[in-house]
Subunit: 231 residues, 2 copies
DNA sequence: TGTTGACGGATTGTCGACAATTTTCATTCG
DNA sequence: CGAATGAAAATTGTCGACAATCCGTCAACA
């Protein structure tokens, strides 16, 4: 089907297009490395090339897209080092987010997070991997908002999108299970106002996810067979 | 004087322009809130509007510039909340950077950081505030590189530039002194390979800088003078 | 048979012209 | 004297056309 069903005849503003491309990445509808030609994007969003090119610049700045001069835009394809860096960055940022959130989160948000964790568990149970990834990302982003630091939230938005790409690249079928329990434990710590515990649980949660992935560089196909054998 | 003296007749690539605008902000040559009209920028960098508009989009994405539709680009002017968020984000990120750097920093980089701290002290001693801010920013960025996480380094680049704006907005004359000693102590902890101590010193260093600033929202200038006197 | 080179189509990059909006400034009015 | 009005100038936003580059195909050749 089309990338997005769009029937409003007024072209949406840049940020709306950016969000929808990011959403498509997070729902694994756009695989890492996929080419993003301008013309189809113009059609999909019923807008001009000018607008699409702006959007691609923003996406590139966020690390979701890679621009190859004269060759076009591609969904980013993080190598192993970048993948590890993204997880390390998430631990640094989300530890702080968990700590801050514990001190100021309210009951309504806690309930929202609990509902998300349950829905995530249900999605995993029925094997809906893309929905599970989406819900998990939403859990972390909702928590970031609750922490009340817009700067950190913006960074995390970028990192969550890139994490989806990483899971798509390095995850196996079994990956990303049992995150529900960890999310529930995190909510419990937040409900207790125990920031230190929440931070610790967040750190371990992210380490756990990272460890479930097989993050290693693909062996590059040799350009010349003979060079492999030294002649 | 002109923003930048540019005589190369070949237009520099986008990233070079971005870097030079960011440098101008960090050296306090561009004050918060300053307007950035396209035409003068085109002249300064001897390039077309197309290129300048791309650069402005990138700078806006990094929070260094604010775009007002139909009104143009302005150097960002962080309000009090944003300023506090930037410092909180720096603590989260740079704690992690200090921890990682302690485990892998080499002697040459340590020497470089020590030299930077001394130069910073000298600049402060002779009252060269803009050079001091520049060197201090460079210290933190060099340390980030040493930590070896390009994702965190990119985030910190953005935050350091925004910090310059914040110091320009909320700093008094006396601000930003004695950072030399704290940098030296940090280098010592790194030289000892004591990551926990380095992280702690970094956290306190950033808190210290933040506390030296008078971060509070400016009272908005009343539209009508008479209303001030109740008439 | 496999490599090289050239051609045509398709895609991206750039520029200038024009439309839309804001800003400035002189003028008028209360 | 200050506020409001309106036109002119300046600035930003958008689009289409054209140039530059890349990609796939196919033919020529060793």
């Amino acid at each position: 089907m089309a990338l997005i069903e769009e029937d409003l005849r007024q072209p949406p503003p840049d940020s709306a297009i950016v969000d929808r491309v990011v959403a498509a990445v997070m729902e694994q509808k756009l695989a890492a490395g996929a080419k993003l030609p301008e013309a189809p994007l113009c059609e999909a969003f019923d807008c001009s090339r000018t607008q699409i090119r702006r959007v691609l610049i923003v996406l590139a700045e966020r690390g979701v897209v890679t621009l190859h001069p004269n060759r076009g835009a591609f969904v980013a394809s993080p190598d192993a080092e970048e993948a590890r860096n993204v997880f390390a960055a998430r631990r640094a940022i989300e530890r702080s987010i968990a700590l801050a959130a514990a001190a100021r989160i309210d009951a309504a948000t806690l309930a929202e997070l609990r509902a998300n964790a349950r829905a995530d568990g249900a999605a995993e149970a029925r094997g809906d991997r893309s929905e599970s990834i989406r819900l998990s990302g939403q859990f972390h982003l909702r928590l970031a908002e609750a922490a009340g630091n817009a700067v950190l939230t913006k960074f995390l938005e970028e990192l969550v999108a890139r994490t989806s790409l990483i899971i798509g690249l390095y995850g196996s079928r079994a990956t990303h299970s049992c995150s529900e329990d960890e999310h529930e434990a995190l909510v419990a710590a937040l409900a207790d106002g125990d920031g230190a515990r929440a931070a610790d649980l967040m750190d371990r949660h992210l380490l756990h996810i990272e460890r479930l992935l097989a993050i290693r560089d693909a062996v590059e196909t040799p350009a010349d067979i003979r060079s492999v054998f030294g002649k």
